[in-house]
Chain length 476, copies 2
């Protein structure tokens, strides 16, 4: 069985931890690992890493590979889409890739950012699904509703399928119902949440795409032929220009809408593996450990007499007193304080932040980079102050800036600095100034992380004021 | 009439804005000015600045003078106490100073950190009080209670005094009553809150101190003789060593306990001038402007669907969603999120923070200095990063450090830097390194504020690692 992880989300409902450019699957929302790391770890007992594939957005490709590096994830098993086009094309493209390797390939499709509390039950359900997939069914896993949720799709089960105990014909797919309908579904034992996990043969889903979404299917072969290794260092798969244009011209359809609602081959296996889509901060109540007062607290927090609250510190002290059902989430440049019952509306709040033209909705003042990370510490009318951390062995691009000089002071580790024709070795407490328009390059020449304080100085301080001449990560 | 402002408080109930070392009277709690600036402004229509005096703690003396500089406050009218000894000694000492200048001096005593909404009524009450003070009464202003407050002292009024309409014998002083008693007081029209404003002749209060607090009175003459001009630049009044020792040996009594509860000369003038002691964050409800949902919001805040909440931003964005009766106060290094009804307990919370050995209870990561201010921006195992702002014309002490080097980069303004035997003129984008053990001095040589980024580097980074050789502010 192959695994295809869909990681294209750009969710902002976990703002300020997740942002448009740092979506939920790349964040540590539950436990010590990121959601996508949890997803891969969960699948490995059933699907070896060499059979795991992943489709994501090109903006998250490098960071995704960085997070999966320690799992041995194959960098050319990551397909970076040029834009977000929902699930139908992503799944069709993955099926094309797999069928080219293995005509009988069975593929499981998995969202990258959900929680599964009981991995064993999950794996067993997938094994049962595989059996049915081999018989050319489109298999979905169904979750018994526990509330009248209006944000999910529902599947109505019909008769038992093909003599397989615990598998049923899917009688009907319903996208997000209204509340009265959702309440009716909750009362019947034969409606299930569609958790977005599917198992089928690559050949079956392609047949059904041909039947029900011909406009997409007809282009898949061409698009798959346009995949090539990226120039960025880890070498993920991306589309060439022709493929990108074709991709972008296609409609963004969900696989549910394109196929599942139409096909007669769909079956459902109800399974209770502690699934949670972790759709907003209040979902942590269902998936995180709590203290005796029902609080979920992490970071530098002093909480007194708080109840059923979620408090996440980041650096600075948070003192919380007498809070009830409140969410407090700190980040370097923005703080959320929210009535827990309003967690679903954080998404709308971020829309307001974006509409106001504020940067905090989209990106962090701290940013992960292929070579390490930087954090904005301070800024003024003509300066910007950053702490830059370069991982051992990594090096930034050879670059220059038109409108700023940069002043670097090493505070720990060892740096190799190229400035014009010269090369310098700097150690802690050494400084160097890079004039504007001068080609320069910063690398970590030691075994420990390199930390420098950068003072940018100029009248136009803009991340886009950069000319790259050489780059290990293909960003020239 | 003379005015004596008592500004010795070290309140922490407005944490994280006020801290042990940055008390409430020096903070902007209500309106654009600090509490002590508001207090001086309120008195000026009645008492010219040359008749205003102020008693505070030596730790706050320089900052207090800095805040009152624009009012023309006389620096030698500030008496800096070596330790906090409550109000009786402070008042006795001020009376001694005034009587030496003017045998018939009438003095008003004013807390530095209260709000008066109606200054005109306040001034009229003081004028009536002055009339009575001249007849050797100890005059208090009394506020009609609006709630069964257990945190205030109460005064029971008796018969009308001396034929003066609206002035009464004070029949009894009661310190902080229990709740049932406070409820009884609220039901009677003849109990008033003691707002800490007193008017009397210096000679009268000294007589009463002699009668009821002989142990304090007997030392006042000696202590007053030990007052001298401080060496710190603005030249406030402080005690020499002998006076300081004597001062510290005296008991810390309130003037209420020492005199008012005993004297038969006390009269009360009930007056409704919109008094509020602003004792905790929830007091802002009574003294600040609110939006149509009852919120008091300031700073970089995006509030949606909030009600009756107090939200104060500081730099970073605060996004607040669906809060009710909640207090959110941000500061550079600590954040408070608190149920509004628990505002009084912030004081206890700070005790816990202090007991935990955390620095955030006592001092800011940003600090006001006589020459300007600094803000800690970042720190690591062997470095500390500060933004330092030096006011025009100001200069730090000539100093050296045993355990750290410092690296300075000017980001705006002009600096004169002394390093060993050399002097440098630095402008924006210039840098200099100060090795450890090297004498150095930083001054603002321009007309605009000087801003530098300082990177301290060393294995022991401690504000106490400083040897001062020359200092304009007397800190050698």
């Amino acid at each position: 069985m192959y695994g295809v992880i869909l990681a294209g989300g750009s969710g902002t409902r976990f703002w300020p931890i997740s942002r448009e450019q740092n979506p939920k699957q790349l964040q540590k929302i539950v436990g010590p690992e990121t959601m996508i790391q949890n997803t891969v770890r969960r699948l490995l007992p059933l699907i070896p890493v060499e059979k795991l594939y992943l489709v994501t957005n090109h903006r998250q490709a490098t960071e995704t590979l960085r997070q999966l590096d320690s799992y041995g994830f194959f960098s050319d098993h990551l397909i970076a889409e040029p834009s977000s086009k929902n699930t139908a094309i992503a799944i069709g493209l993955a099926a094309k890739l797999l069928i080219a390797k293995d005509a009988d390939a069975v593929m499981g499709v998995f969202p990258a950012d959900h929680v599964v509390a009981n991995s064993e039950v999950f794996i067993k359900a997938l094994q049962k699904a595989e059996t049915l997939a081999k018989k050319n069914y489109l298999v979905t896993l169904g979750i018994s509703p526990t509330r009248p949720e209006t944000g999910f799709g529902y599947i109505k089960r019909g008769a038992e399928t093909d003599g397989v105990a615990g598998a049923y014909q899917a009688e009907r797919f319903t996208e997000k119902p209204d509340l009265p309908t959702a309440k009716q579904y909750l009362e019947h034992a034969n409606y299930f949440w569609n958790c977005g996990v599917f198992v089928w043969k690559a050949s079956t889903i392609l047949e059904e795409l041909r039947r029900y979404a011909e406009n997409i299917y007809s282009q898949l072969e061409t698009i798959a032929g346009c995949l090539r290794r990226s120039k960025e260092k880890p070498g993920y798969m991306e589309l060439n220009e022709k493929g990108g244009d074709l991709f972008s011209s296609l409609p963004g359809l969900s696989i549910d809408y394109a196929v599942m609602e139409n096909s007669s081959r769909v079956v459902i296996i109800p399974a209770e593996f502690g699934w949670n889509d972790v759709g907003a901060w209040n979902a942590l109540d269902d998936v995180s450990e709590k203290d005796s007062d029902g609080n979920i607290v992490s970071g530098n927090v002093l909480a007194q007499d708080c109840k059923n609250s979620i408090i996440r510190g980041h650096g600075r002290l948070i003192a919380a007193l007498g809070l009830k059902d409140t969410v407090v989430v700190d980040s370097p440049d923005a703080l959320l304080v929210c009535a827990k019952e309003r967690s679903q509306d954080v998404k709308k709040l971020v829309e307001v932040i974006n509409a106001d033209g504020r940067p905090e909705g989209k990106q962090f003042s701290a940013a992960e980079k292929p070579w390490g990370s930087y954090t904005v510490l301070d800024s003024g009318p003509s300066y910007l102050l950053k702490r830059i951390e370069v991982l051992p062995g990594e090096v930034l691009s050879l670059q220059s800036h038109q409108h700023r000089s940069e002043h670097w002071t090493v505070v720990s580790g060892s740096a190799q600095v190229v400035r014009g024709d010269e090369t310098f070795q700097l150690k802690a407490n050494d400084s160097i100034t890079i004039p504007e328009k001068t080609k320069h390059r910063l690398g970590n020449s030691g075994a420990d992380p390199l930390v420098i304080i950068e003072i940018q100085f100029g009248n136009r301080l803009d991340e886009n004021d950069i000319a790259r001449f050489e780059d290990r990560y293909g960003r020239c």
